[in-house]
Symmetry: C2
Subunit: 152 residues, 2 copies
């Protein structure tokens, strides 16, 4: 299942799925905890010592949350070649190795060639806290059609 809803609605959205359906399911969490209640730019509803992905994993221990794709806009998620000839980086985080392998296979099928597994679900903090920089670049570049490449 791909969880692609407003970040602040993510836990609620998943709560509407039957428990027996969720059991053992890999949930690809592409959400960001953007809070627009204070106006623009949005702040994050959770950050620093917790993350939306961790909240989801705690709320639904029977699923395997895999955080990924939240660092790019939707058209790039499914077509990384849309910018820079696809030469950029995607991140991955989650507690279950088999679930991450499954998601990595999907990312590879979508055309992602540089996927960095950042480890357990707490790595989602960094992935979500990248959003304020992303938002600022969006404003500066005037387009959401960009991504970042880890140059090493």
């Amino acid at each position: 299942m791909v969880l692609a809803v407003a970040g602040t609605a993510a836990v609620d959205a998943l709560s509407h799925v039957r428990a027996e359906t969720l059991a053992g399911m890999t949930v690809v969490d592409v959400t960001n905890p953007l809070d627009f209640s204070g106006g623009m730019p949005p702040s994050l509803s959770v950050c620093n010592t917790d993350s939306l992905a961790e909240q989801l994993q705690r709320s639904f221990p029977q699923v395997h949350i895999v955080k990924t794709l939240n660092t790019v806009t939707a058209p790039i998620m499914v077509n990384p070649d849309a910018v820079g000839g696809g030469d950029h980086t995607m991140f991955l985080a989650g507690d279950d190795e088999a679930a991450k392998a499954e998601v990595l296979a999907v990312l590879t099928a979508l055309g992602w060639r540089d996927v960095v597994d950042l480890g357990d679900i707490t790595a989602a903090r960094g992935m979500e806290m990248y959003l304020p920089l992303w938002l600022r670049m969006f404003g500066t570049l005037g387009s959401p059609m960009f991504s970042i490449k880890v140059v090493r």
Copy 2:
């Protein structure tokens, strides 16, 4: 002046400089608000709706704070060619256009070729909130010798 101290000591450090020395000075803020008091990994002592750079600018309105270079380790700051042939991105934020032009000239002299001016000092929130992702990549890659390129 380049302010390169522990983030949590930044405001205090600048408070020891004579006010008449600071007047009108461009201060390059390369610090990060890393708080190690809760153990590893560090959290940020300020984030989301404020930043260390904004705290500095508010505390010392007579200086021009320019946030930059906080997204890379020291050897890359002064030698961007150290990774990826120098083909990666540096960010810049600050309220004073002349001060930013001055800092951009220094960055260019150091070899930075892709510098993105993200606007006023509030953009430092995003630059500082990138740190948790940086720290996680450091752990995954086993080296701080990396940077990010904005692919667009």
